[in-house]
Symmetry: C2
Subunit: 327 residues, 2 copies
Amino acid sequence: MSVGIRDVARAAGVSTATVSRALGRGPVSDALREQVEAAVRATGYRPNLSARRLRSQATQTIGLIVADIRNPFFTAVSRAVEDAAYQAGMRVILCNTDEDAEREALYLRLMQEERVTGVIFAPTRTTAQAMRAGDLDFPVVLIDRSGPPGAHDSVVLDNTAASAALVDHLVAQGYARIGGLFGSTSSTAQERRAGYEAAMARHGLEPATRACAPNAAAAEAESVRWLAEGDRPEALIVSNGLMLMGAVRAARALALAVPGALALAGFDNEPWTELLDPGLTVIEQPVAEIGAQAMNLLFDRLKSPDQPVRKVVLSGRPVLRGSTGRR
Amino acid sequence: MSVGIRDVARAAGVSTATVSRALGRGPVSDALREQVEAAVRATGYRPNLSARRLRSQATQTIGLIVADIRNPFFTAVSRAVEDAAYQAGMRVILCNTDEDAEREALYLRLMQEERVTGVIFAPTRTTAQAMRAGDLDFPVVLIDRSGPPGAHDSVVLDNTAASAALVDHLVAQGYARIGGLFGSTSSTAQERRAGYEAAMARHGLEPATRACAPNAAAAEAESVRWLAEGDRPEALIVSNGLMLMGAVRAARALALAVPGALALAGFDNEPWTELLDPGLTVIEQPVAEIGAQAMNLLFDRLKSPDQPVRKVVLSGRPVLRGSTGRR
DNA sequence: CTGAAAGCGCTTACAG
DNA sequence: CTGAAAGCGCTTACAG
């Protein structure tokens, strides 16, 4: 029923090989190329990509595995990845793991079956730790989170420095009892905590941290619990945009004025963080560049498979707003 | 290099046909099935999906074509679609058109080359109007926007009623000079405008509308222009979540108190709309259900290709907040 | 530059 | 239930 390459060949009076070459970059005379193009138009022929992929052993497909596309950070990164991919003539398969190691394994298997060209992956700590170089049949670029040094290319934020910048700013603004709420599943959250702890120590301050699942609901619940206690912090640094939203809700629920009763700072410069009154102090991540750089690392790796493993570390940009006003 | 079905067959001492059947739902004796499964484990075999798709003529793939995944409405819908798809053993190819008719055409062609099982599509008005039933080799389900009646299955919001509900609420709150800012590219924006106009007429009020590209920046610019005029409206209804954000920015830029100097209402119950002070009155869309219903329509269509075209109309839920407080 | 032929890795009638 | 064989729709050495 569907028109195939044989129909086009017949219509153009050439062999299927010539049709194939005319549509690809093969050497074909101008005359025949035009005949083929006319035949393609006349028949409405569309090549079958499954057949092409099977025969050419090149799927032109990259897998993108993230925790949840509804996390604005991943939304933005994925858009950058897709733009770069389609521009390079590749398509992308998107998978949401919900920070679940089993689903990560499932999707990694799927990527094998798809014979993908490469994968861009934001793994949980569990999975990242278990991933050895050469385990998979395709190159992997880690984003947002990294694994064991030297195993895979990665592009991450300088999380330690970003956290420290937040602490330094809060200290400069007159805060001392600064708490940290961090996600429990990613290396990124760990690094942000480490940066927080180091900076607190540098200032001679006592660190106080809590951990929870990296989503708004969990962060709200944990914040409410924490902030209802007697010795609650006077400022809070929160691990990501979703969790920061939870912390804001918690402050509202407990009627804590920001920054009067509680200063707030976090990560991800989502549009809404500017709209609040006061606006929220955050670390802006170069989301588009993270996606674009990940694609670059992947393409470089495909070109030079034996090149040493690279780790691209990007700096966050502190955006200071009213939520961390002077104490 | 990669292990194929022949290697598994050899390892299990059976034919490739038996391996194939053991991995699918074919009839195989328990004994052989176990041998095959052991061989699969031993060899680490992963079937090549390109080959399977080519041979079986079933790609198990659905295309999802939206304006921009960064629009939270589409983010949420796409997550619902993907969950349903993976649960049904299908994968999804995501495409962003940026409301560009050329890119829509491009991606529709790509879908043909992928030989997708079906497509879920939020088209611009231009493309929707041009799409005739039977043009494509696969069923299409329109979401958020619909085309000519009877051409394709669709799942949309009751936009007319939703807009009217917003007008009614504003009138009840004492507003009369109510303006409407609507997107210029979708049938949805048109319906929302029509609903607004009808409701205004019903109340004996003079409608006043403006149109702009459906994004935050364009809405902000247009709002600033409009609200700086002498006869500016005392309340504004805005077409979608992105544009509503632009209107909020405009009010801030012009130092218009909400709702004192300008009441604000719109669409899409994004988390941030509740966080503002006052919160924003919005129509909440059943995003997850839209995605799930679209998949249902698609599956039903695949089962019964000749069934009459269906249009699922879902109701929005008004969420009344302070931004439309009494005048 | 062009064509005939082989083959990518599967699944599926067809026999038995 | 099982196997030998054909074939899905392309691309690509191999000759010419």
